[in-house]
């Protein structure tokens, strides 16, 4: 890119060779630990491979896929996952944007707020699950005690199906909202000053500045932040494992947890692989979209 200025195929050729030399070990490692296992998943998904009969003797074609689609609770899990992803990303965006704008508007204590904001992001998700399980315990939890002080009757945070779903969503928000806030605050800091100065000259109000300048200029950052969180939210596993095990019923049975159960409780790795392959397609489609979008910004 930068060295090829002197021209001549040999220079560019050497650059290429050096680049390939540097890439080769990492690329081989990636292929070994990621690509090969992924193809192995596809291979498993068309065989009758269970943990009771762990062999590849029986080729079954698309039977695992068919069986997976026929499963009674898969649609529930897909629906719960969709609801979970949408609810957490939308609420995180709203809270995250409010926090980002506030942080952008303050000078004093900014670095303290910022450090507090960053803290949840580095905290182990298992710890987050355990922490909120403890706080939200229906008899011994401090939350029910605290709301009792203001006259609200105790809530069964994890025992009631409707409530449990929102409990998991809120726990995830507590853990991940900072992600959204930090990306948005970085976006706000990079905005140009001139449009605001010009608008202020014309006597524009703070609110109309926000709607006509901030929002349009922030669009790329908002899109990237939302897409990234969307993809990450689909992966959510840990807090469900710790807090609800997918229950009550199927109220919090996110797809990652569903596939995990199919493989290691249902013992049917073949069928779980078929579902994993389906999930892979969705994630890859979202990633390609994100990648194209990120490149179109450059």
């Amino acid at each position: 890119m930068s060295v090829a200025t002197a021209g001549g195929l040999t220079l560019a050729g050497r650059d290429r060779r050096f680049g390939l030399l540097l890439t080769a070990p990492g690329l081989l490692a990636l292929i070994l630990v990621i690509t090969f296992p992924l193809f192995f998943t596809l291979f498993t998904s068309v065989h009758d491979y269970t943990l009771l009969t762990p062999n590849y003797d029986t080729f079954v074609g698309l039977e695992n896929y068919q069986e997976a689609l026929d499963e009674e609770y898969l649609p529930d899990s897909l629906w719960v996952t969709t609801k979970f992803v949408l609810a957490s990303v939308v609420i995180e965006f709203i809270i995250g944007f409010a926090v980002a704008l506030s942080l952008h508007a303050t000078r004093r204590f900014q670095s303290i707020y910022y450090l507090i904001l960053l803290a949840p992001l580095l905290i182990n998700p298992v710890v987050v699950g355990l922490l909120w399980r403890m706080l939200l315990h229906s008899e011994l939890g401090i939350v029910n005690y605290a709301i009792g002080l203001v006259g609200i009757s105790p809530v069964s945070w994890l025992g009631d199906a409707d409530v449990a779903f929102w409990t998991v969503v809120l726990t995830d928000i507590w853990h991940q909202v900072s992600f959204m806030a930090i990306l948005l605050v970085a976006g706000l800091a990079a905005l140009p000053r001139e449009p605001y100065e010009a608008a202020r000259m014309d006597g524009a109000s703070t609110i109309s500045c926000f709607i006509h300048i901030t929002l349009p200029l922030m669009r790329p950052v908002i899109a990237v932040a939302i897409l990234l969180r969307l993809i990450f939210a689909i992966k959510t596993f840990d807090i469900v494992f710790i807090m609800t095990k997918g229950g009550p019923g199927t109220a919090t049975d996110l797809i990652s947890y569903y596939i995990y159960r199919a493989a290691f409780f249902g013992l049917d790795i073949g069928r779980a692989s078929a579902m994993a392959a389906g999930l892979l397609v969705i994630i890859l489609a979202l990633t390609v979209y994100l990648y194209r979008y990120m490149n179109s910004l450059k």
């Binding site: 890119m1 930068s2 060295v3 650059d15 050096f18 680049g19 890439t23 080769a24 690329l27 490692a29 990636l30 990621i34 296992p37 992924l38 192995f40 762990p54 409010a98 926090v99 506030s102 942080l103 508007a105 303050t106 707020y113 910022y114 450090l115 904001l117 960053l118 803290a119 992001l121 580095l122 182990n124 998700p125 298992v126 710890v127 355990l130 909120w132 403890m134 939890g141 005690y145 507590w174 900072s178 930090i182 990306l183 990079a190 006597g203 950052v221 990234l228 596993f237 840990d238 494992f241 596939i259 493989a263 290691f264 692989s273 994993a276 999930l279 994630i283 890859l284 990633t287 390609v288």
Partner: protein, 306 residues
């Protein structure tokens, strides 16, 4: 830009503009009075939002600390009682339970996965940044590797590790965690090789340094702080990882998150002990936080934002 264009305005246009600006100043003065209240509000509102937000984040963590420091029976008392703070729980999790082994396993795996992935990732990232090796498709490959839900990869890793007798071994777990750290680092490090360091390197090349010398003598030392920070982030990524460890480790290789998750079921929930253990588990992250804050944005936004 607006300043230069203002100088280019012809004189008459300039006079007209002055009038307009005078009128505008008057408008602004009027507005200023009204804005006195506004200014107070626009100071109060952000701080209120941030204080509430900070409290929601901090209070649960402080409560965790409080429970960890009380004795076992006081921990359960509702309404809460404030006993004498002591460190008995912290001592007990290390003497009465295998938490030291969990710690050691977590540290070994996270360190191993980071140290093995880092040189490979440096090679990939540098080749991307300087020579655009593999073009857009290789970059997409690295990005998608990073986006994979762990549950997709853990199925084949489990069956492959069963065959290769890597289940329940630390090398197996290190290999599994490299599926996280390698793409993460490769993608993140590209940003550290772009920009000013490329100019320095170019100068060295003109002075006769080979490509390899320029990389080793110029670029790596200049990018070292970024590489170190990225390494620490990758360490935490692996330190916090749960699903791979849950499935691929056994009694002797359990990592901290797996230890914590099983702690709850063994003997009811001993929340004082559990809190002490979780405090220990998040301590490395909290200690590293101030050093990593500058790099966290790059790491989180996957380089989409600087």
């Amino acid at each position: 830009m607006s300043q230069t264009s203002r100088f280019l305005v012809p004189l008459e246009g300039f006079r007209a503009r002055l009038d307009v600006e005078e009128e505008m100043t008057a408008n602004i003065r009027g507005a200023m009075r009204k804005r006195g209240r506004w200014r107070f509000l626009s100071w109060l509102l952000p701080h209120s939002i941030l204080v509430v937000f900070s409290a929601v984040i901090l209070l649960p963590l402080l409560w965790l600390l409080r429970v960890a420091l009380t004795d076992k029976s006081t921990a359960y008392k509702i309404p809460p009682e404030w006993g004498q703070a002591n460190f008995d729980n912290f001592i007990e999790i290390f003497t009465g339970y295998p938490f030291f082994s969990y710690f050691l396993n977590s540290a070994t795996v996270a360190f191993g996965a980071t140290v093995f992935a880092l040189p490979l990732a440096v090679g990939l990232a540098y080749a991307f940044a300087r020579y655009n090796t593999g073009g857009l498709s290789l970059r997409l490959f690295v990005l998608s590797s990073q986006m994979l839900p762990p549950v997709i990869l853990v199925l084949p890793l489990f069956t492959l590790f069963l065959k290769a007798s890597l289940i329940n071994t630390l090398p197996g777990l290190i290999l599994a965690h490299m599926t996280l750290s390698l793409p993460f680092l490769a993608w993140l490090l590209v940003a550290f090789f772009d920009g000013e360091v490329a100019i320095l390197e170019q100068a060295a090349r003109t002075d006769g340094a080979t490509r390899f010398q320029a990389l080793v003598r110029i670029t790596l030392p200049v990018a070292a702080p970024g590489i170190l920070a990225a390494g620490l982030l990758a360490f935490l990524l692996s330190w916090n990882e749960f699903l791979y460890a849950l499935i691929l480790s056994g009694p002797h290789t359990n990592t901290l998150p797996v230890g914590l998750s099983s702690f709850q079921t063994h003997r009811g929930v001993d929340i004082a002990l559990l809190s002490a253990a979780t405090i220990c588990a998040i301590l490395p992250a909290i200690v590293l936080l101030p050093f990593l804050r500058r790099y966290l944005i790059k790491g989180l936004s996957l380089g989409a934002l600087k």
